[in-house]
């Protein structure tokens, strides 16, 4: 029994230390966005890798998600002769939840794993020690550019996924279900306008839908960097870190999504 308690104690200490180090890494990465030296070239490179490189996969994900949403909702709404509300359903689902969450999960699979693998390889080949030995802070040089790229590019990709998803729904609605395009688009706009506007012009749903990917971008890059920088055990360790980074970031995104939704409902309440 004592051994069991001791093992649990050791495990919990390890988890607590890991959480502490994770937040310390996030705090340092964020702090370095406002202090010199800046590695702007690295930021642009990472924006290209994390953002531009993810565009094809995000377009495909958004398109097919919007299409399948329209198709599925047409079955249920058809029972009540309410197919004209397909636009409302697709618009609300994409902008509020599926756009941000699916984009974040896809970027996690593609870029989050890449960050963990790249930094992990640099760790096991002593490249990170080399950076430190030349007076460079690895967090400033390697993590902060990825962090900035993540919080800029994930919201941008989310906008793309939202737009393409709505277009995908439109294609199915018009060509498969036979709903006029203007009815579908009026449904989309109606449901976004329904929950009110922020600063007169921006639909509340749209703004809250962009607040989430901002946080998701930070989670993806920090989780990948955390596991990459803490790799132990050679190439096998790199593989393990990559898997852990993807699993942890995915779970964190889904859990954070719930709490962020709750928070946003309080901070920017919908107009009833």
């Amino acid at each position: 029994m004592d051994r069991f308690i001791s093992a649990v104690d050791t495990w919990m200490r390890g988890v607590a230390l890991g959480v502490q180090e994770y937040f310390a890494l996030g705090q340092r990465a964020a702090r370095f966005t406002t202090t010199r030296p800046f590695y702007w070239r690295d930021v642009l490179v990472q924006m290209d890798r994390i953002g531009v490189g993810s565009i094809p996969i995000i377009l495909l994900t958004g398109l097919f998600t919007g299409m399948v949403l329209a198709l599925q909702s047409s079955v249920e709404l058809g029972k009540f002769g309410a197919e004209i509300y397909i636009g409302s359903l697709v618009g609300a689902s994409m902008v509020r939840e599926l756009g941000p969450v699916l984009t974040a999960l896809m970027v996690t699979g593609r870029a989050g794993s890449g960050i963990a693998a790249e930094l992990g390889s640099m760790r096991v080949t002593e490249q990170i020690d080399a950076l430190e030995s030349m007076g460079t802070d690895p967090v400033r040089k390697l993590v902060t550019p990825r962090f900035i790229a993540g919080i800029v590019m994930v919201p941008t990709l989310t906008i793309l996924a939202d737009v393409v998803g709505i277009i995908g729904g439109l294609v199915v609605a018009v060509f498969k279900i036979g709903i006029p395009a203007d009815i579908y688009l009026r449904g989309v706009w109606g449901t976004l306008a329904e929950s009110g506007f922020i600063l007169v012009f921006f639909p509340r749903d749209f703004v809250s839908g962009l607040a989430k990917p901002l946080v998701f971008g930070a989670i993806i890059t920090l989780t990948g960097a955390y596991y990459g920088l803490h790799v132990r055990g050679g190439t096998e360790g790199v593989g393990r870190a990559t898997t852990q980074a993807v699993v942890t970031a995915s779970v964190l995104i889904l859990a954070t999504d719930y709490f962020l939704t709750q928070l946003l409902l309080v901070v920017v309440p919908p107009v009833l």
């Binding site: 080949t125 030995s133 460079t136 802070d137």
Partner: protein
């Protein structure tokens, strides 16, 4: 050697002079550059158990020891990549154990490190690898940086025009190691640390690296610490040898003194 040192902020303190050293001793009238005093460090098991080491200005100190004896750990402590559990480490007379992270980064700019497998940045060309410490730590313009990079590559017997645009993956092990040395000395450091510089190299490449290490001391006068388990290579570059055994310095002296030692462990170690 170059204008690099003039462009680098210098926070060194005046190194202490060796007191009472005899004329023939390695310390004779020379400043102590690196000093470890009663250094202890444990991970899961004790690694260093009260290490004392003094390295003098312009000296090439070779630290010998079996694999896993803590030689590389010693270098990481001097670079302040690790901190000891107990004891003091002074570089240029300044205790580095309690330095803040930023102060440690600043201190490292006066050192160059040659890693066991070179640790070149694999996404950067040879030119960018060697230029990296110059771009990071000096205010030199690109033309001056290009001139210094060429000079350093020529110093390590590489043809700049041939290798500058190559990626590290396109080089042989010996060439990678030479580029690692060129990068380590690019910013004109006062101290160069070598971690197993001859590991994994063929005999000709080992010869070339030894020649370079000696050339570095003779022409640039840098203070060096070489950790290795390669006794022959170590003896060829050393002005002074320290043998690490069971976490302590078991022997300190010239290569000749070590070769004629009666200590049974040393006899067995030398084979």
């Amino acid at each position: 050697m170059s204008p690099v040192r003039d462009h680098r902020r210098d926070h060194r303190r005046e190194p202490s002079r060796a007191a009472g050293a005899g004329a023939g001793a390695p310390s004779a009238g020379r400043a102590v550059v690196i000093e470890l005093e009663d250094v202890w460090l444990s991970f899961d098991e004790p690694v260093l158990c009260g290490v004392n080491l003094r390295v003098y200005e312009g000296e090439t100190r070779v630290v010998l020891g079996e694999s896993g004896s803590g030689k590389s750990t010693l270098l990481k402590l001097i670079l302040r990549l690790l901190t000891p559990d107990r004891g003091s480490i002074r570089v240029f007379g300044r205790d580095i154990v309690d330095l803040s992270f930023d102060e440690a980064l600043e201190m490292r700019r006066h050192m160059g490190m040659v890693f066991q497998y070179a640790a070149l940045f694999d996404s950067l060309t040879v030119f960018d690898n060697v230029a990296y410490p110059l771009r990071e730590n000096t205010g030199l313009d690109e033309a001056e940086i290009a001139r210094i990079v060429r000079e350093r590559l020529e110093f390590v017997d590489l043809d700049p025009d041939e290798v500058m645009s190559k990626l590290p993956g396109e080089l042989s092990g010996g060439m990678r190691k030479r580029v690692g040395i060129a990068r380590a000395i690019a910013a004109d450091p006062e101290i160069v640390l070598y971690d197993e510089p001859t590991a994994g190299l063929d005999p000709l490449a080992v010869d070339a690296i030894i020649r370079l290490t000696r050339k570095l001391q003779a022409e640039l006068g840098v203070t060096s610490i070489v950790v290795t388990h390669d006794i022959r290579a170590g003896f060829r570059v050393a002005s002074h040898v320290s043998l690490l055994h069971k976490g302590r310095i078991r022997f300190e002296g010239t290569p000749e003194e070590m070769a004629t030692s009666d200590d049974p462990y040393i006899r067995a170690f030398l084979g």
